[in-house]
């Protein structure tokens, strides 16, 4: 068990980080190169002002017509994404790992809060799953990969939660938790989780088109 843990948190973690950072940069650079090659006009329409105006409206809960129309979804979506990013980044034990490995550290969350945030992520994932199978307009466009990415995202939180509360076999859970985290990191650039990388660009382009050319609002 020890060697499994050492493997997932050692070499595998390195590979995961490499795939995450390398892959993300690669995907974004490749997209930009494709724009430059085939649709370079896109750059002429981009505007910082209207890009940020649009992104700002869409990252503030209830700031757009569609967010207001779907209050429950909006609350869940925002809570889910905030916790998804903040919990792992500011979890005390993660920060300690960073400190031990590289001597860098930053703010941390109280453990109970991180615990609550983990539960929010898990419940959020359940919400999305239920929505996916029960809402006809979502089910119609669902494919197997949608369930896979949901699983990839929730696995580190489920295993982390179990490990933290020391339910089941702690060392095994811990190993699985790290493995799930590695998988998720590595998957971000290469699955539809890449919406994390691309959404600022697509929104910015639409925001620029709507603001600069069409003199209209896109929210």
């Amino acid at each position: 068990m020890h060697s499994f843990y050492n493997f997932v948190s050692g070499p595998l973690a390195w590979i995961a980080f490499l795939l995450f950072f390398g892959g993300s940069i690669f995907r974004i650079v490749r997209m930009l190169m494709l724009v430059a090659q085939k649709e370079s006009f896109i750059f002429t329409y981009m505007s910082w002002r209207y890009s940020l105006r649009s992104i700002f409206h869409w990252i503030v809960p209830f700031a757009t017509v569609n967010w207001r129309r779907q209050p429950v979804l909006t609350v869940v979506t925002f809570a889910f994404h905030i916790c998804l990013l903040a919990a792992p980044l500011f979890l005390l034990s993660h920060v300690i790992l960073w400190d031990e490995a590289f001597g860098i550290s930053w703010w941390t969350l109280p453990d109970t809060l991180a615990d609550v945030m983990t539960i929010i992520v898990i419940l959020g994932a359940v919400f999305f799953l239920v929505r996916r199978v029960t809402r006809p307009e979502v089910r119609f466009v669902t494919s197997a990969s949608d369930f896979v990415i949901l699983a990839i995202v929730s696995a580190p939180f489920v295993t982390g939660f179990l490990a933290y509360h020391q339910w089941f076999a702690y060392p095994l859970m811990m190993g699985l938790h790290v493995l799930a985290g590695d998988i998720m990191l590595a998957a971000i650039p290469f699955t539809r989780l890449s919406h994390m990388l691309f959404s600022p660009f697509t929104r910015a382009y639409m925001g620029s088109e709507f603001g600069k050319v069409r003199h209209a609002r896109d929210w």
Binding site: M31, V35, Q70, V141, D146, R192, T202, R214
Partner: protein, 444 residues
């Protein structure tokens, strides 16, 4: 492939589509799809397809979806799934029957109105994706017959309606004479070099609605505008080739239009009350020609009336009495930001303006736009069934007292005419120019 949304789609007969389909082979389909995807698209298509998280949040933006009791086949992302996703996933290996369905979906179940872009958290441009599908449909030769006919007309006569070379100045002269009975010194100046304004219209005006040219001439005359109309090809600003994704012809049309303005050495182009023509001149045709913004100042009628009224160049004798409600055409509102100016004009010329809801950039499309009305009689019911929500929206405005529906767009006008009849809403439909002509001060 998903099941077709409605059985009647299978029953619709359209010679453009059906004859075209009968000539297709799987190899031809595959080579066309792949060549469009490899050679004509780039980061946008790829990024949109890979970023969409299949959340369905765009659904409720679409009047087709809402009007069909939330049938997912009609949701924006649903239409993408039934067309371009599948083409990409199968690397172009789809059947003629699939192409038939894709032609029907892209041409008659989406108005390219871009309302869904305001609902998708990522701003995925589904109208663009549908145009890519139409491009494939065009290159495969399966475009619906009626709209293909107008594209042919553009190609042959450089106008949408097969208006012949001599019919055009004839019509203008005829309207000039008519108007001179009312205002004896009125002229419709033809080919006047160096005029301030070139006035351009869509071909259905001389063909069917010549009184609109009459009204425009009276407004120009009273306001003392230095204007002209061209006698040559290039007078028509409309563009159905844009909607069949026949980009080559779209480019020829816009070039003729801009070059005509250039030849006449005018300061700007003023356009009649049309939405799709505005989109073509301001948004799409100019870009195809390589102009990031149009090479000429393009002024849509709404903006033109706004300027005239604000500068006091036309005076209102007595405001229009019947309460009106105002339809915001997607192509000039979501596509040109003219909603506040439209309201200024409406309030300046009418006593009572009743807002329909939703409005401004969030207005529902009339279901005629994007070339859908131009697919003709075989698909009329697709428009009626596809826009029940518009009928409800109009009915609500009527309940609040509206008697007249102002639609400053030719397509909207015809589309709303059909909706109002089909659902028996009982609103009279007018252009701004109808009302301005009626209420303005004219020389005695």
């Amino acid at each position: 492939m998903a099941e077709p949304s409605k059985k009647e789609n299978a029953d619709v007969v359209d010679d453009g589509i059906d004859v075209g389909i009968s000539r297709l082979t799987e190899e031809k389909i595959q080579s066309v799809i792949n060549s469009v995807i490899d050679n004509e698209t780039g980061a946008r298509l790829k990024t949109y397809v890979e970023t969409c998280i299949h959340c369905g949040l765009c659904s409720e933006a679409c009047h087709y979806y809402l009007s069909h009791d939330k049938d997912p086949h009609y949701s924006p992302v649903g239409k993408v799934k039934q067309t371009i996703w599948e083409m990409i996933r199968k690397k172009g290996r789809v059947s003629p029957e699939f192409i038939r369905q894709a032609a029907i979906i892209s041409h008659t179940q989406c108005n390219l109105c871009k309302r869904c872009a305001q609902y998708c958290p990522f701003g995925i441009d589904i109208a663009y994706l549908m145009l890519v599908v139409r491009r494939i449909i065009h290159l495969l030769g399966v475009t619906p017959l009626y709209i293909q006919d107008t594209a042919h007309s553009h190609s042959v006569t450089m106008n949408q309606m097969w208006v012949k070379g001599d019919e055009w100045p004839d019509t203008l002269q005829w309207q000039e004479e008519e108007a001179q009975a009312e205002i004896p010194d009125l002229r419709i100046p033809l080919e006047k070099e160096g005029a301030d304004i070139m006035y351009s219209v869509i071909a259905p005006e001389p063909k069917f609605q010549a009184q609109l040219i009459y009204q425009a001439a009276v407004i120009m005359h009273v306001a003392g505008v230095d204007w002209t109309m061209p006698a040559s090809m290039g007078w028509d600003n409309s563009d159905m080739a844009m909607y069949t994704a026949d980009n080559e012809i779209m480019g020829r049309l816009k070039r003729a239009h801009f070059e005509t303005a250039e030849r006449l050495k005018v300061k700007k182009i003023v356009m009649g009350e049309c939405g799709h023509a505005f989109r073509s001149v301001y948004d799409m045709g100019n870009r195809w020609l390589g102009w990031s913004m149009p090479p000429f100042t393009i002024v849509h009628a709404i903006e033109f009336y706004y300027d005239l009224l604000r500068e006091g160049r036309i005076k209102i004798a007595k405001k229009y009495k019947p309460p009106i409600t105002l339809h915001d055409p997607c192509n000039v509102v979501r596509g040109g930001g003219l909603h506040e100016k439209a309201r200024y004009v409406a309030h300046a010329i009418c006593e009572t303006v009743i807002e329909m809801l939703p409005n401004r950039e969030h207005n529902y499309c009339c279901c005629a736009g994007g070339g859908v009305i131009n697919t003709g009689p075989p698909f009329k019911m697709a428009r009626m069934d596809g826009n029940r929500v518009k009928a409800e929206q109009l009915f609500e405005a009527k309940t609040k007292g509206a008697e007249v529906l102002v639609a400053p767009c030719h397509n909207c006008h015809s589309g709303l005419e059909d909706i109002v009849h089909h659902y028996e809403i009982g609103l009279e439909i007018k252009f701004f120019s109808d009302i301005i002509y009626e209420v303005m001060e004219k020389p005695a």
